[in-house]
Symmetry: C2
């Protein structure tokens, strides 16, 4: 049997791309939803038909044993998985293909690669799962000072190398994907319990480099909080922090590696905090007639010190799209998880707060003690991981479909939400002739603010989708920025978010980061153009 193949242009496994009939059916639905005639399912690209630019450099002898310069390899490492990447991929545009791909089998080969790139002035682009949605894994433009570029694929470093069951920690190589590392931890009864939407394909190293957010709403869900120590190869030497539960010794080195997006070094492994697999679960869906009341309830729960695993507030559009409520209600999905104790008290307190804010929970809470998730949670997670496949299918129909996310303090949310809605609708009307659809949910809640996550869908015009999408994305980003929200809560910066990131960060911090990079990567080869120039 051949190994299952990933789509060379779209999200995930190639065999999950819907067939002609399924796409026609999806087109009908999309047309009905957008009030347009059903879009036309164009034929997907064929690998054989892709024209690639000639490489400027070939693998040198010292890298040849672990390099590949074949078309399929170069194509698979050209783009990430942003909306624009999917559109370009679907159109057969792989004009930014790297010259070749290296796949180091250990740190020595990685060091050799960085040394060669530094000597030759070749851009070195770290590549984990290739799931960046912010142009974080593509080479710089050919007209930049980097005519040549190699993609450094960490996929060969995919092992859980060590498990400390006493401290509940594991040393895991950076190229391990979510399923790969969870399978290896499961043998110890442990889990990293980190589920970004890209979980199936993204890697530990990528999560650390981009400060990934897991799908739990509170406490230990960001990879930032799960990292105990980081090992990173820089052109200037090995960056290895000590395994520590906490330290007050100077600024945290790990926190500088976290979010460095490949510009300071290539992460090769990390000690991460793992957990016992949950046994008790308690969950409930709470319905609100008014969205503002639901927001207040989510805030009160976030500030109560209960720390739910989920506190996911769906606005009426999101609730309708997810078939959770079709009557204009907002829905708050609450869940608690524990490996240690039953959760009746926890969900009881949370429901009391929701009820005090006018929420109705007609079915009462669901309590389980067998380690299994409630059916609603299972179907939610399946839908969550399926969403990028749906986006890929919509791209093939010429429909514009994307998400963006942010975080802001509670006092600013109402104004932000209004501003984002107005900006996106206006931009969609201008670019697409239709308001399209905009849905919002909270993915995470903090005592001082929520992380709102927006999905927008609008009718595209074949060939014009990139500009249409860019206009909407720009309007949304301007709204976030002008309302004091962050340009990204967990999607990272890459090249896509640079203009707004540059405004958001303190100017002296940019100077400090630039200086740090010059010290560690004097040739400036690592992921040029990402985060800083």
């Amino acid at each position: 049997m051949n190994p299952r193949e990933r789509s060379f242009w779209g999200w995930g496994w190639a065999d999950r791309f819907p067939d002609e009939e399924a796409r026609r059916s999806l087109a009908e639905q999309a047309g009905a939803m957008l009030g347009t005639k059903p879009p036309d399912p164009a034929a997907p690209p064929r690998l054989e038909g892709i024209a690639l630019p000639r490489p400027v450099v070939a693998p040198p002898p010292e890298l040849a044993a672990f390099s590949g310069a074949g078309a399929a390899e170069r194509i698979a490492h050209t783009w990430g998985k942003s909306y624009g990447d999917l559109v370009r991929g679907f159109a057969g545009d792989f004009s930014l293909a790297p010259d070749f791909v290296v796949r180091p089998r250990g740190e020595e080969e990685l060091e050799r690669t960085l040394a060669w790139c530094s000597r030759q002035g070749v851009a070195a682009i770290p590549f984990g799962g290739g799931t960046s949605v912010v142009s974080g894994v593509e080479r710089p433009p050919r007209e930049s000072r980097f005519a040549a570029a190699v993609s450094i694929d960490l996929g060969a470093l995919d092992r859980v190398a060590e498990v400390d069951e006493v401290s509940r920690a594991a040393r895991i190589q950076a190229g391990a994907t979510g399923p790969a590392l969870e399978a290896q931890l499961a043998g110890h009864g442990l889990t990293l319990r980190h589920y970004p939407q890209s979980f199936e394909f993204s890697t530990l190293g990528g999560w650390i480099a981009t400060r990934a957010g897991g799908h739990f709403a509170t406490l230990y869900t960001h990879i930032d909080d799960l990292v105990e120590s980081v090992r990173m190869i820089t052109p200037g030497g090995v960056w290895q922090s000590r395994r520590l539960p906490a330290s007050g010794a100077g600024p945290s080195p790990d926190r500088l590696a976290l979010g460095s997006e490949g510009i300071l070094g290539v992460i090769t492994e990390a000690w991460v905090r793992v957990q016992a697999r949950p046994r008790w679960r308690a969950s409930a869906g709470v319905f609100f007639a008014e969205h503002a009341a639901a927001v207040d309830a989510a805030r009160a729960i976030a500030q109560a010190g209960l720390y739910p695993a989920n506190c996911r507030l769906l606005d009426p559009v999101e609730a309708r799209m997810n078939l959770v409520a079709g009557d204009g209600s907002s829905v708050l999905l609450l869940a608690f998880e524990s490996a240690d104790h039953a959760l009746d008290g926890w969900i009881g307190h949370a429901l009391a707060i929701a009820s005090a804010h006018g929420g109705r929970c007609p079915d009462g809470p669901v309590l389980r003690e067998d380690g299994a998730q409630a059916a609603a949670a299972q179907s939610w997670r399946a839908a969550f991981f399926a969403a990028p496949y749906l986006q890929t299918a919509l791209v093939s129909l010429g429909v514009i479909a994307d998400t963006f996310e942010t975080a802001c303090t509670w006092d600013r949310f109402a104004r932000l939400h209004e501003a984002v809605g107005a900006a996106v609708r206006e931009a969609a009307v201008r670019a697409c002739g239709s308001e399209g659809i905009l849905a919002c949910r909270f993915t995470h809640v903090y005592p001082d603010g929520p992380a709102p996550y927006y999905t927008f869908v609008a009718p595209g015009r074949r060939g014009a989708e990139l500009e249409q999408h860019a206009a909407i994305k720009r309007a949304a980003s301007e709204a976030l920025s002008s309302c004091g929200a962050t340009i990204t809560h967990h999607h990272a910066v890459g090249r896509l978010h640079r203009p707004w990131y540059d405004r958001e960060r303190p100017a002296p911090f940019a100077q400090a980061l630039r200086a740090a990079k010059s010290a560690l990567d004097p040739a400036g080869i690592l992921n040029p153009g990402v985060l800083i120039d």
Copy 2:
């Protein structure tokens, strides 16, 4: 009435230094405890008798309006409050007095100060509460390239400037002390709930610069986690991060400011996360015959997802010193706090875990609902804040008394604890002719490790205490370092911990930090010698 005066050489309020009779009584106790004859209470120094070095520079006209060069001012800003500082202060040694002290009343005056220092090559030492125990607020040696130095006292910036009751956040100036900011927050029913041992005198800016640890055992207790945004004046410009509950936009700027110990800039204010004042409290003391079983219980509770406010494990020596148990038991002090809900369930689960590890809780849990702390917690906090006064009194008797603290993963604790005990006892015998006393408690517990806090007491020889102490401190620090623990969990690095900090941090991180400093502080005037050279 005169304002209450701080001791010019010892900890805290001058009027709390014990009189002759009280010191004789303390000397009796110390002698009995150490098995020596009662040490002799020497006379404390008199301010009038202090000989100060001549200043090299005087306040220039542009700084004169907010500068002071009087003896009392210079003396008060010479040292922090480490053991060595107390010994030097008691001996009347203020040889490292700054040339003068500036007390900016706003950011413009601070900027003017930094500009002048940069132009003149004068060292600029940020000074909050002056409670550093790691030589973090003293000028560099006169034989360094800085012949002149000014102390920058942030004390005039002490206001809670803004409160956002919806998001539970407050904008607070960096020079506000614990009591000052809590008094201002109390009017809103809010609290920062951050209680380092230096609480009475240390400041928000100092806490951020040194990554202070509060006295709660889990979750939001470190200032790191309470900071929403930081404002810092650097010679290279204003560093202002955006108020955000979370962000994934590049490495966190706040996390580089946190722990920067004054070498990158001077923090002037921060938005911090505040909380409703707790109403419910549940607490219990659990006794263990075996320390190892108590450690396992603390670990199990730390890994259970219960998040106690206190999970303070006292070893038998600590339990005896604190009059909690005199029979060789280890004692685990547990407490939960909430502003939202009763805590019966929480303490019940924690006690069940403790009991499963052989712990006995003869009195059962104490539950309160009136916002008041149980008597045991109140007396603990009073003793906690009184400990530095006791150290000062012991210094006046020539007794060596100090603390050090660390953090390590659970798997390493047993070996670390043994190594620290052996190292300290051996060094004490060699330096003091007596093993002295060594006590240990856990101040914080994390899912992956504890933060052990050690107190040691040994008989000193008048005039030799600094070397005797240094020998013990060095032995302890070597033990921490060689066992893979951190050189400091919340006391910071300063100058005192530099040798071990230099070994602990990743070498490329040191390069990055040095480069960042050069970019922001090209003249290198800010706190020279702290963290890096």
